[in-house]
């Protein structure tokens, strides 16, 4: 088939032409996939063809190999692997040939497609000759082909994981890349491509970085590249340094002084994109050291894998002045621009990280700068001084900071209302928020907020909420932390006298015309939520009064009207904020019996509104409304049954929402709430729910994080409906069993182990719920056949020695539940299990109260089962 014309048509401005072309491409693909892919690669390789069709051909080819969604990606990989070998060879040959095309777009597209093919084939030990053939004559290539080859290597390293390329090939890749970067390479494009390729190849260079000579060489080449006359090369070289700072932190000591000199020069003199990367290097070092020091703190033995070299602590005498200089380079209006990122912002952010890394030591280095600049007539100086102050509030000890804050607080409060510059006010409000976040609350010994200044602080913040949107948003943020600090204040809160006024002011903010700017409306509702969360019994009547107000607001959003897609998005966002606010109120008022009864008079009305919010959409449910319904079910208890007939279909819709897996997860949680609220009244809905949950488990489209809560939910259902669960027992047990087998042994990184533990916990919670649900029922014997496997699972995870405390507690509880429900039927099985001895003893002597409590329960239940 002649694809050129079709590809041209596919880019036509005429919609009909375009649509037809897309349709025929689709047909071609469906009828003859190898032919289709082959003609695309032919098009890409053909120098006679127009550049647009060559590019599009490459792009379609690339999309036939990879997709964002995991399951789709998996399908495409399988499809490629099963494709006719002959066709694949031809396609790959065409792609490699394109790398030497004089047309740069064609080369660049081909290098990306090659990397995609390699990403599929190399892990399957296919296309082993790829790296060799790319590198075979790289020195003899003309510059444009060399550049394309290096670019391909870069993409390749980005695409495949280091373990599929052997060290010999890694060495060859690095050699070619480093040669391409070196000053002896005359062509700028080649040097740039090589530098960018190195960025991706760094992850492969573990062995090379362990070899002193090779590391010295690599570092020298990178550092030299930071001095290149070409700005893009300098930028790419600094990107390499940033990447090295996190990947090879522990190897940096010999180079850190030189790197400081290079970065300092770049920050002060170079163009912004380069300077930003240079600052990022230090931010990245801070990230590393904060992590290491945190690990030190959490572990008394102090034997972290990576030692801390205290680079930042040593660098601060020079680093801090350099960062303070950057603060003075603000852009006008950066606070109104959501996307802004400039040297002052990067410098300030880095200063904050430095403060978290070194703690008290930063204070004397920053205070003179603040004192010198904070009263200057130039707004840049006042803003920089304030920003510096705000940046160092997290890290140093309260003892060091509180005296400063006590001096500064009044000045800040007056600047917030009186400073003529909006930028200064924005930063001042932010700084006040940081003061309240880190230095106000029950954990701080000497309070900075007293009876004497509390009223003034509230008054200033409320006034500031009338300022420009960005300033008002920061004022809301400050109020958020002010309220949070009083969370555990006891029965009486200092905010009580102002509660009404605060709530009123926040509601006024939400109605501002410009409330959508600077996420002001969101901030106002979030602050309202925190004020409600942290309120005390004294103000419970006022929180109750808020209910009809929010109900009315939400009601206004569901009034039927035709909406444009932009309006629909606004509506949905506002509904989310209001449902979130109601959720917080429900949870607050529902937590005490007296307020709960008063609140429940609104339950019908609120539930009606949630259903209307759902009805605003066609295929998805609103996550915030779903979360709020969970809280409502908990508050209403069995009375929630009356909402079920109408609510059920949305529940089902939520469970089916694979794309927005958060929604699915939230809905699964709500099923649990409903089970606990309705107990056996949930029976009529169980068929539908269980069917959907089982379907979800067997789907490979669903995000894995939703699976553990689904298992826990089995437990919730079983506990609620008791022996009625019999219908689902076989299916549930079989799903549990296969998941249990998968999760017994773990190999992988921390993240995977964490996930496996979450999965285990879900499985175990399911077993607990099922055993407890069947207790004392004549159908208990149905569970006996499953006991050996469950005990085997408990023994298995015990032997693995990698379960966390939560799993331990749940696991030992399951042992108790099994003994409790099966009694003498399981006595001999239990006695044979490792869990009933070593594991139980380990739990009995645990420091963790919850584990101990569960273990004591298990011990009791086992002794009973065995004695009978």
């Amino acid at each position: 088939m002649e694809v050129t014309q079709v590809l041209l048509n596919a880019q036509s401005i005429d919609g009909t032409v375009r649509k037809n072309a897309e349709e025929s491409l689709k047909q071609f693909q469906e009828q003859n996939l190898p032919g289709f892919l082959l003609s695309l690669s032919g098009e890409l390789a053909n120098e006679e063809k127009p550049v647009e069709t060559r590019k599009l051909a490459g792009l379609i080819l690339k999309n036939a190999l990879d997709a964002k969604e995991e399951h789709r990606k998996f399908e495409l990989v399988q499809r490629w692997l099963s494709l006719d070998g002959n066709a694949k060879s031809q396609i790959k040959a065409g792609l490699l040939k394109t790398l030497s095309s004089p047309v740069s777009d064609a080369r660049s597209t081909a290098s990306q497609v090659i990397a995609k093919v390699a990403g599929i084939e190399l892990p399957h030990k296919q296309w082993p000759e790829l790296v060799g053939s790319l590198l075979s004559n790289v020195h003899q290539l003309p510059a444009h082909a060399k550049q394309a080859t290096l670019e391909t290597l870069g993409y390749l390293c980005e695409e495949v994981s280091p373990d599929v390329i052997d060290q010999d090939q890694v060495n060859k890749i690095l050699t070619a890349v480093v040669q391409g970067m070196s000053a002896s390479e005359g062509n700028t494009d080649v040097r740039l491509a090589a530098t960018r390729a190195l960025y991706n190849a760094l992850g492969f260079a573990q062995a090379n970085f362990s070899n002193d000579m090779e590391r010295d060489y690599l570092m020298r080449v990178v550092c030299e590249a930071t001095l290149s006359p070409e700005v893009r090369i300098r930028q790419a070289a600094f990107e390499c340094l940033v990447s090295i700072s996190s990947t090879y932190y522990e190897k940096l000591a010999p180079y850190i002084q030189d790197i400081f000199n290079i970065t300092a020069k770049a920050v002060r003199e170079d163009e912004e994109p380069v300077a930003l990367q240079a600052i990022e290097f230090w931010s990245s070092i801070c990230d590393e050291e904060i992590d290491i020091l945190e690990e030190y703190g959490g572990d008394f033995t102090g034997d972290s894998d990576i030692p801390c070299f205290y680079f930042i602590k040593q660098a601060i005498p020079a680093l801090v002045p350099m960062l303070l200089e950057t603060l003075l380079k603000q852009e006008e209006d950066q606070d109104q621009d959501e996307g802004a990122w400039n040297i002052a912002m990067a410098g300030g952010t880095c200063l904050g990280l430095v403060a978290r890394t070194v703690g008290d030591d930063i204070v004397p280095l920053v205070v003179p700068f603040i004192e010198e600049n904070v009263t200057k007539p130039d707004w840049r100086q006042r803003e920089a001084a304030t920003y510096a102050f705000g940046s160092i509030l997290e890290g140093p000890s309260p003892a060091k900071l509180i005296p400063l804050v006590n001096v500064a607080l009044n000045f800040m409060l007056s600047a917030l209302t009186k400073d003529p510059n909006s930028h200064v006010k924005d930063t001042t409000a932010w700084t006040l928020g940081r003061i309240f976040e880190f230095l106000h609350g029950s954990a701080v010994d000497s309070p900075i907020i007293t009876q004497a200044n509390c009223q003034q602080i509230v008054a200033v913040l409320l006034q500031s909420m009338k300022d420009t949107p960005n300033v008002a948003e920061k004022a809301c943020g400050a109020l958020y932390f002010l309220a949070q600090g009083y969370e555990e204040v006891g029965p009486s809160s200092p905010l009580t006298p102002f509660f009404q006024e605060i709530v009123q002011s926040l509601l006024t903010v939400t109605h501002r015309e410009d409330a959508r700017e600077s996420r002001l409306r969101t901030a106002a509702y979030e602050t309202l939520n925190e004020v409600v969360r942290c309120s005390t019994d004294e103000t419970a009547p006022l929180v109750l009064q808020l209910v009809p107000v929010i109900i009315m607001e939400l009601h206004n959003t569901v009034e039927g009207q035709k909406l444009s897609s932009d309006e629909r998005e606004k509506q949905s966002e506002l509904q989310g904020l209001l449902c979130g606010c109601l959720q917080v109120i429900i949870q607050k008022l529902g937590s005490s019996e007296s307020t709960k009864y008063l609140f429940l008079q609104y339950a019908d009305q609120i539930m009606g509104l949630f259903l209307s919010v759902f009805a605003c959409r066609s295929a998805t449910v609103h996550e915030e409304a779903m979360l709020a319904i969970g809280a409502l079910a908990y508050a209403t208890g069995p009375d929630f049954a009356k909402y079920m007939p109408e609510f059920y279909r949305y529940l089902e819709m939520g469970l089916q929402n694979f794309e927005e897996y958060q929604v699915c997860a939230v809905t699964v949680g709500v099923v649990g709430d409903i089970c606990r609220a309705l107990e056996e009244k949930v029976v009529p809905y169980c068929d539908g729910i269980m069917t959907q949950l089982l379907k979800n488990l067997s789907s490979n489209q669903l995000h894995r994080s939703v699976k553990p809560p689904i298992f826990s939910c089995f437990g919730d259902i079983a506990l609620a409906v008791g022996e009625y669960f019999e219908k689902y027992l076989m299916w549930a047990m079989s799903a549990l069993q296969s998941a249990a087998e998968l999760s017994t042994h773990t190999t992988g990184d921390d993240e995977l182990i964490e996930y496996i533990n979450t999965l285990r916990n879900g499985i175990l919670e399911a077993y607990s719920g099922i055993f407890q649900g069947f207790k004392n029922s004549p159908k208990t014997q149905l569970l006996i056949p499953y006991a050996p496997h469950i005990l085997q699972f408990l023994d298995g995870i015990y032997m693995e020695k990698d379960m966390d405390d939560v799993v331990m507690k749940t696991a030992i509880g399951v042992l108790g539940d099994l003994a409790d429900t099966l009694g003498s039927h399981a006595a001999s099985l239990i006695q044979q299990s490792v869990s009933s001895k070593d594991f139980l003893n380990e739990c009995l002597s645990s420091e963790d109260v919850m584990i101990k409590e569960s273990a004591e329960w298990a011990k009791l239940a086992i002794s009973r089962a065995i004695s009978v």
Binding site: R232, V242, Q601, S768, G769, Q772, N776, E856
Partner: protein, 422 residues
């Protein structure tokens, strides 16, 4: 390959409020799940196992003479039977609630004034709040409400109530306190002491228990302000001899908590679980916000409502032992509403009211309303129904109580033996 974005969050909190809401929801759900499972397991293991161990542990304070009362032995036998681990742990749902409710001493309502009020009774103002059992053992403290659900799990200065104590925290060391948790000042008001530092006070008289409570609680540091190892303050309530000045003090005296009526404890009574006429509660509008029962919505229904248990032979009875018969339910209603023996049913008392012959209930005008809230573990007691009836028609007033004390003063003293109903 384009340059890599290095933008970091600027002037932003690390966590969004939505994420916080999600996490708090998950936390609540996990907590609720734990509660549901523990309730199913009847995981009062601290109470369960401690009780079974209690009889073996000899009182350490042997120098103290205990006033034992006839019937004590029988009483403790019955008690240990109640606490049989095997029975208790097999319970589910409402059974758990009943079991827990049975572990507390429940006062009857004062429907007439007992004799010798001034000599044999204590009086104190009852704090308004959640009645709960507080158990400290093994370095932690747990409070459980009447329905068995955990109210708090926390460290406290009670013996064995937090991890920091040593020595005294032996395996036998534990405490069980009968408390009311007062929300407003977040304080546990201790109204009775059941076990202290491994020493059981079940078989001790109220006189001794209150004496012990007042001296030991203060000593332990449990009355101190909350701190890291002592999350909630405990406080004793002022207890008075029920003479004229004592009653007056309890009725009008200023206390740091909201009052919910007055409690009268017979000085010689042991700690008896379940309903007992040796502890009485009385209230009027001056000393309680909740004199007349409200319905689920917090409103006072126009007609008095009662909850009765349906028995095999369609009889409707109270929760007393032996139960008091209030009437029979129409077979039609049973059929139509699908009712079973043991169901708790809600009735209104109609205009016919309650009629008595020789002090005994003869007839009640009952109007069937429906099944009661499932959280209920018991039917109403006879004394409660009667007290509520009286409140609506001819309440027992504080003056009646004072008058009774005065008239008793005038009279010759009656023999001092008190028959234990135990």
């Amino acid at each position: 390959m384009a340059p890599h974005d290095i933008r970091r969050p600027f002037k932003r909190a690390a966590i969004s409020d939505q994420q916080k809401r999600r996490e708090l929801s998950l936390l609540r759900q996990a907590q609720n799940r734990r509660d549901a499972q523990q309730q199913a397991r009847c995981l009062a293991s601290s109470i369960l196992s401690l009780q079974s161990a209690a009889p073996e542990s000899q009182p350490e304070q042997s120098d103290i003479e205990l006033e034992t009362v006839p019937g004590a032995e029988k009483e403790s036998e019955a008690f240990s039977k109640d606490l049989d681990v095997r029975q208790a742990s097999k319970l589910r749902g409402p059974e758990v609630r009943k079991w827990f409710a049975r572990q507390l001493m429940l006062p009857e309502w004062m429907i007439d004034v007992p004799d010798r009020l001034a000599q044999d009774w204590y009086v104190f103002a009852r704090p308004a709040g959640k009645r709960c059992f507080v158990v400290s053992s093994n370095g932690t403290t747990v409070s459980r409400q009447r329905n068995g659900s955990i109210l708090h799990h926390f460290p406290s200065a009670l013996p064995a109530g937090a991890k920091i104590r040593d020595g005294s925290g032996s395996a036998q060391s534990y405490c069980i306190l009968d408390c009311i948790f007062h929300e407003l000042d977040q304080t546990y008001y201790v109204i009775d002491m059941v076990c202290w530092n491994g020493y059981s006070l079940y078989d001790c008289t109220a006189e001794f228990r209150f004496y012990w409570l007042n001296s030991k609680l203060e000593e332990s540091g449990a009355c101190n302000a909350p701190s890291h190892y002592h999350k909630f303050r405990f406080s004793a309530v002022p207890v008075y001899n029920c003479d004229q000045s004592g009653l007056h003090a309890a009725y009008t005296g200023v206390v740091p908590y909201a009052k919910d009526g007055l409690l009268f404890y017979n000085k010689h009574a042991l700690y008896q679980t379940g309903n007992t006429p040796l502890a009485l509660v009385w209230k009027d509008e001056n000393c309680s916000q909740y004199v007349i029962d409200t319905d689920g919505k917090g409103e006072i229904p126009s007609q008095q409502q009662v909850v009765l248990e349906l028995q095999d032979d369609r009889k409707l009875v109270t929760s007393d032992d032996p139960p008091v018969l209030f009437g029979c339910l129409d077979g039609d209603i049973i059929e139509k509403s699908g009712l079973h023996t043991g169901n708790l049913l809600r009735f209104a008392i109609g205009d016919g009211g309650l009629s008595f012959v020789e002090g005994k209930l003869e007839k009640a005008d009952l109007i069937y309303l429906g099944k009661s809230n499932r959280a209920r573990a018991f039917a109403d007691s006879y004394s409660k129904v009667l007290f509520q009836f009286m409140v609506r028609h001819s309440p027992l007033k504080i003056d009646d109580l004072l008058a009774s004390i005065n008239s008793a003063n005038d009279q010759e003293k009656t023999p001092s033996d008190i028959e234990m109903v135990g």
